[in-house]
Symmetry: C2
Subunit: 457 residues, 2 copies
Amino acid sequence: MDDLDAYLDAHADAHLERVRAYVRQPSISGEGAGMAEMAEMVADSIRRLGGAVEIVPTEGWPVVTGAVDAGRPRTLLLYGMYDVQPVEGEDWLVPPFAGEIVDLPEFGPSVVARGVYNTKGPLAGLFNVLEAFRATGGLPVNLKFVVEGEEELGSAHLPGFIERYRDRLGADATYFAFYCQDRRGRPKLWLGVKGIQYFEVTCRGGAWGGPRTRGVHGSNAVWVGSPAWRLLRALATMMDDRERITIDGFYDDVAPPSAEDEALLAELARTFDPATELWMWDAERFKHDAAGAELLRRYLYDPTLNIDGIWGGYTGPGMKTLLPYEVKVKMDVRLVPNMEPERVRARIRAHLERIGRDDIEVHFYEGYPPAKTSASEPAVQALIRACRALGYEPEVWPHLAGSAPFYLFRRVLGQPFVMGGLGHGGRPHSPNEYATVAGMRLFEKSVARFITEFAAA
Amino acid sequence: MDDLDAYLDAHADAHLERVRAYVRQPSISGEGAGMAEMAEMVADSIRRLGGAVEIVPTEGWPVVTGAVDAGRPRTLLLYGMYDVQPVEGEDWLVPPFAGEIVDLPEFGPSVVARGVYNTKGPLAGLFNVLEAFRATGGLPVNLKFVVEGEEELGSAHLPGFIERYRDRLGADATYFAFYCQDRRGRPKLWLGVKGIQYFEVTCRGGAWGGPRTRGVHGSNAVWVGSPAWRLLRALATMMDDRERITIDGFYDDVAPPSAEDEALLAELARTFDPATELWMWDAERFKHDAAGAELLRRYLYDPTLNIDGIWGGYTGPGMKTLLPYEVKVKMDVRLVPNMEPERVRARIRAHLERIGRDDIEVHFYEGYPPAKTSASEPAVQALIRACRALGYEPEVWPHLAGSAPFYLFRRVLGQPFVMGGLGHGGRPHSPNEYATVAGMRLFEKSVARFITEFAAA
């Protein structure tokens, strides 16, 4: 480990440059920019480890897969994503794909760039560590890679890929590298992820009334129905003023926390700092009056029905009177334990039917269920020990509030999974997404220890 | 009149070219494109009549004003507008500012361009007629001009102009030139206009909760409040599922039709063709079950609360999970007889307060009340006779469903007003706005007769 640490220290500048090179390459799956180049960059990183690589086409963006046989008894499947969110309509301190280093008031020197936190920074750092192993004592585990380009699109084609390649993907555990220290430096370790069902709702004129194919002069709102009002009134029936979802049976699918999770929630509540979370998410207060374990329980076990975006009619400067013919909304449901995408889709459709609004179109993107691993898994214990070895006691969370398609590893491939590492970043999906330079160095040392511990477990 | 008709026939091509020149000059008051050039073009048209012209600056776009003293006993104030709606996000058959002639299946050769119907086509045609008078027997009336550049913005600075210039604007009547034949060729004559109150509503995070200054990762919707849901729920309290406005007291301000108007409604119901209206506004049905006089009564006497546009959060391609910090809506209320903008503004604010949502910002644009003239006015009778002389019996409507700031002429200057003329156009504020070439020729003959009749009245 001393050799490895010395190597990581000696190569810190070069390793930082690799992170910057990764984020300078745009790879916006929602728009297509730079996706082929980024897949090639990832493939090349695997090749440099002496691995066999394949860029597997899908109906969406390709999956980069590969393997490095190090002749070791244990095998780690490394899951990653090479795509990032769009930057449309955002105001940045520095260009989002310049990989610039900004001295942030609270955090010191940090790379401010789209994807540096979520998650091309950790992905580049992971390759840095793997090269360091090769340059020192050699890799202590065999490696397999699944790096997808559609995580930000809901991983629509990953299930098909996993199905086709399942025979080649056997491993003792799946690992997803991520910077997991919060603003105070405390690492978090999540034992699972939520699922997600994203969808787009469209209301336009038709048999019920309303203009069908074009916006018309606004004065006609007096006698021609309004798709905008129709949509707003319909959506308003799905949520109450306290933001509790009012779709029939929506909460019936939700399982309460397990005993292991309740114990974790009680432990978390002792150190949980609501002020840090509010600062992170730019809010003055939470929407619930709950505090402590109850707030955390709601955070992790409440399903959501979020409006990601809404648009229709005239949105330019000044005044234009228009009766729009079409209004659209992007929405998502985060799925907590026991929720399944098919059931959510059926309940949304049933709700629109019940209120007599099944003319409103709902286009569902590919959804996926949540996934969990137990804290007792050797891979999880290896990551906990890695953090402790560097002087950090991780907060262990039942699962993440965010979503990832880890059911594919847990349910389909039957592997335990673990995610995390030291390092700090923030503002995912927002302007000025960042990760600290000091955190990147800690991250690499933690990943080096995790892999070593995992190999020995 | 024969000389005048012969002159108009002989100059039909040149007159059409003037209309095309007018619409080729963009003049989008909401965005600013071409406004100065268009004001100059109008000023030049007045100058060519031998008139004194002034382009009067306002805090918005200038007003073009002027006068032609023909030494006649009667004076006509000509109101017009030189601005048009934006074309943002619209799909056109031909470029909207090319002034191209398209052979439309139902209507034959027509100019398809932004503003050709609403209302630079009629404005150009009016100047054509005035020049024809000068070239033949001379102008039978003195003229005054008020041509504003902010009609599509709610005429925000016209009241100030009228106040300042009221001593110079004395006349026997105000006339607004407009193509008023419907699809079947029947001319309409409106005795008034609705008022309008346009406004923009913004909901963003603040003391109540929600992200305050930037969108955050959508997973936080589970515990951070949503400005989008807050706005949707608040708006939904303003309208019921039958699109009846549920703002307290909103209908209290509405006066029922006068006896003269009821008689007009009964007459109109005899020939009113709902199918033509539905075709015009691209709808399969009206939002009310009413028919005949009752449908017309609702069309003219119901106030509206229209959503012109709505936007917030992620509206790009594909999927982005985001909890938006801000959502905006453009809305307008059409004011029917007896409604006043101040009362409407107060009721909207009171409603938001009553439901505990006065954190939602409402920015009101300048509003104005409705205005009406009686059918018995000589100017109105002159226009009716002009239509009849060309073989068309006008449908007389109590007022227009649309809005114009004619209270300035009626209430402030104390003049009767009349608007109309033959000619046909359609799709105002929509893609492929058009006016027929044949209608333009009829329009000029009808305006020539109207002015002659008005001079003799």
